[in-house]
């Protein structure tokens, strides 16, 4: 759960497609001004969850409220505050990029032409090209522009950077960092490129098989899972290390590298002192945390 005034509330949402249960009893609250990383394997239900937020899917059971309205009944006023870049890259193929941008901008009073020009220049988008002739990476850039161009309050990015090259990905992250300068803006980003995501998110939701495994702030996750390197001061480590149920442990005679959960740094230092060791404590990367959470269920 996220503290504060929620802009999205999901209560016991379930959704199935034939025999596949895409979402299974999802309860979630998202408050404004956060950048949320939505993580999960292929088929975990990330895109389905995002589509419920904007009413493209309707739940079989439960209720989804976005900006105070039932997601299935969102009107132009609410949808005019939401930007959505989707993984299919579905765009109006017959238009040129310039025509497409003009067409989409015609729907929004708040379209930011300065941002549009800057974005086109930074991302090196050729506006004269026909959308159908764009490469997957170029399409994604255009999709991101269309989703962000009107300064939406809620920005939903479903696998936005999967086709971008490393430079474009870095530019995209810069853009996200610019966008989060607005304190009221909420961004939900679903991605498999965790090394990128961890640079910008402040909250994490991890999904598996239609269920939410974790819903917590990124800081608390980084505090919860730690990598501990113990080095013995007198040559040999004791046979039994004083840590209960470590997640992993690799050791030699004088050194051990452990991954532990729910230990305070002060506790770790005290325990290291007990066995006459020096200790080096580091937080895990998002990718490592993700693997642990998903594998341990």
């Amino acid at each position: 759960m996220i503290n504060g005034n929620p802009i999205i509330q999901m209560r016991n949402i379930s959704k199935g497609f034939g025999r596949i249960q895409a979402l299974d009893g999802i309860n979630l609250e998202i408050s404004g001004g956060k950048i949320i990383g939505l993580l999960g394997a292929n088929g975990a239900g990330k895109s389905t969850l995002l589509r419920h937020i904007i009413g493209l899917y309707l739940a079989d059971e439960g209720q989804c409220i976005t900006f105070g309205a039932d997601a299935g009944k969102l009107g132009p006023k609410e949808l005019g505050r939401i930007g959505y870049a989707h993984q299919e890259g579905e765009l109006l193929e017959w238009m040129t990029v310039k025509q497409l941008v003009r067409y989409v901008s015609a729907y929004y009073e708040t379209w930011n032409h300065e941002l549009e020009e800057k974005y086109i220049a930074d991302f090196d988008i050729s506006t004269g090209d026909r959308v159908s002739s764009l490469s997957p990476g170029q399409r994604q850039k255009v999709a991101i522009l269309l989703a962000t161009g009107f300064d939406p309050e809620l920005l939903i990015l479903d696998e936005p950077a999967s086709s971008l090259d490393p430079i474009a990905r870095s530019q995209f992250l810069d853009l996200l960092l610019q966008l989060i300068q607005d304190e009221n803006r909420t961004i939900i980003i679903s991605s498999h490129i965790l090394s990128d995501v961890e640079k910008v998110i402040d909250h994490t939701i991890i999904m598996r098989k239609g269920r939410i495994l974790r819903d917590s702030s990124f800081d608390s996750l980084r505090e919860e899972f730690l990598k501990v390197t113990l080095t013995s001061l007198n040559g040999q480590l004791p046979k039994e290390l004083p840590f209960e149920n470590p997640i992993s442990c690799e050791r030699s005679s004088s050194q051990a590298i452990l991954t532990v959960q729910n230990y305070a740094s002060s506790d770790l230092e005290a325990k290291a002192k007990e066995i006459n060791c020096t200790v080096d404590i580091k937080p895990l990367s998002l990718e490592e945390i993700y693997k642990i959470v998903v594998i341990r269920g």
């Binding site: 497609f17 895109s47 589509r51 904007i54 009413g55 493209l56 899917y57 309707l58 299935g72 009944k73 969102l74 009107g75 132009p76 006023k77 609410e78 949808l79 005019g80 939401i82 930007g83 959505y84 989707h86 299919e88 579905e90 765009l91 109006l92 193929e93 017959w94 238009m95 025509q99 003009r102 067409y103 989409v104 015609a106 729907y107 929004y108 009073e109 026909r130 159908s132 002739s133 269309l146 989703a147």
Partner: protein, 463 residues
């Protein structure tokens, strides 16, 4: 896994092919019907042709996959597949000559072989359409041409006599064609030509077809066409900008542009010419056959054209328009489409009535062919069918097989009801009844549209 199994695994992915098998199976009773009642033994050539189309389509689909190009020893598999399928199917079909009266056993064997080779020639024609870049439309016109010639001039009886009278020369000629085709399919260029290409088969999904058409249109984009698109774009933007932001009017015009833009965007002159040619052919063909009774089937056919439209496209592009806005804008669109299709239908009705006065009768004394125009009094059929077609277009936007089945059901329904009722529907239930039925169909459309817009998934798997 054997190379042939790898090839077949590709084929299983083509779900549309199952519909193809169904068409081929349906051809068997038709062929036997002609054999029994009219002593015409070559009805099975229809099946040969369609088997060729499907076999060619399947192998084209396989050849486009880079995997098939790289797989060692796979290059000769498509050729073997095509010849095995064609050989077995046509040999079985040629057995229809077992029913031919008065032939001795050795002679009937030769007739079966000769009939099989004639079947192979039609089969190869079918294979050529998808596989050897024989233009689909040209191929289909040749096929339709064959049917027309068969109906009016009974050419199949001539070929049948050749098979019976000169089976050995027929076998030799068929064998030569097979050798020539074997060499043609043996070229390395066949695999290279198809590898990695974006192609579209006759039964591919509408999404793939749209992508393919767009790619083709892009290749042939001229400066004049680009200018036309720009003007069209400006026109719609001006219309949109007349209405307030986040208002219904802006979205209705925008949606109108989105739906029709797809059509304009992939528009090509050859498509327009092909459509005109097809409509002209239908108006003429149906006016002459079945003593002109078939011509009114055009009221059904023209209404069914709307089945090809996707009225709720680009669902995953988020615009400031909710489900209610989508409902209203699609309803407006449906009314506009009905109006435009209605005007076209009335224009064709007028033309066919004019043709009735202009076209002379022709034929022999035994069978005089005279042209009959469409009956304007039956226009209500169009109004009855179009809401049903629109409902199906909304409910099954991407399911080509369902759409084809709907077309077949309507055609069969028309023929059966004509046989059962023996008089126009309006004479049976009266004008009030017809008005009530039309209203009922439109209410049905509103219910379907409301359900799709308000209750169903707008994108992805649930759509």
């Amino acid at each position: 896994m054997s190379i042939l199994t790898a090839n077949m695994k590709h084929l299983y992915q083509c779900r549309g092919a199952w519909f193809g098998y169904l068409i081929i199976l349906c051809g068997v009773p038709i062929a036997l019907f002609f054999t029994k009642f009219d002593d015409r033994y070559l009805g099975y050539l229809l099946i040969s042709f369609w088997t060729g189309v499907f076999a060619g389509n399947m192998q084209k689909d396989v050849l486009t996959k880079p995997f098939s190009f790289c797989l060692p020893g796979h290059r000769r598999i498509p050729k073997l597949f095509i010849f095995w399928i064609g050989g077995v199917v046509n040999l079985i079909l040629g057995c229809v000559f077992l029913l031919y009266p008065g032939l001795s056993f050795p002679y009937v064997l030769m007739a079966i072989l000769a009939g099989g080779f004639v079947g192979m020639i039609l089969y190869f024609h079918g294979v050529c359409i998808p596989l050897l870049k024989l233009k689909t439309l040209l191929g289909m016109y040749l096929y339709i041409g064959l049917i027309v010639v068969t109906i009016f001039f009974k050419w199949d009886k001539v070929v049948q006599n050749i098979i019976i009278s000169w089976p050995i020369p027929t076998i030799l000629a068929g064998g030569l064609v097979c050798v020539w085709f074997w060499r043609l399919l043996g070229r390395d260029s066949l695999a290279r030509r198809h590898c990695g290409r974006l192609v579209c088969g006759e039964f591919d999904t509408s999404l793939k077809a749209q992508k393919y058409r767009q790619a083709q249109a892009d290749r042939k984009l001229t400066a004049a066409k680009a200018k036309f698109f720009e003007r069209l774009h400006e026109l719609f933007l001006r219309r949109m900008n007349r209405y307030e932001f986040l208002g219904k009017g802006r979205y209705i015009w925008g949606n109108f542009y989105m739906v029709f833009g797809r059509g304009f965007g992939t528009w090509q002159m050859k498509d327009v010419l092909a459509s005109c040619a097809l409509i002209s052919f239908l108006v003429l063909f149906f006016g002459f056959v079945c003593k002109g009774e078939g011509v009114n089937l055009l009221f059904v056919i023209l209404a069914l054209v709307v089945l090809s439209l996707d009225l709720l496209p680009y669902g995953s592009m988020l615009f400031p328009a909710g489900r209610a806005e989508k409902y209203y804008s699609t309803l407006v669109l449906a009314i506009i489409i009905t109006f435009l299709a209605g005007v076209l239908t009335l224009a064709l009705t007028g033309i066919s009535v004019l043709l009735e006065t202009l076209l002379p009768e022709f034929g022999s004394k035994a069978e005089v062919l005279s042209y009959h125009g469409m009956d304007i009094g039956l226009f209500y059929i169009f109004l009855l069918v179009i809401p049903i077609a629109l409902s199906c277009a909304v409910a099954f936007p991407r399911n080509l097989i369902v759409k084809i089945i709907i077309v077949v059901v309507f055609m069969q329904g028309w023929i059966i009801s004509a046989g059962v009722l023996k008089q126009p529907l309006i004479d049976v239930i009266g004008p009030v009844g017809v008005v009530g039925l039309v209203a009922l169909c439109w209410i049905g459309f509103l219910v379907v549209l409301h359900y799709v817009c308000m209750r169903r998934s707008l994108v992805g798997q649930g759509r």
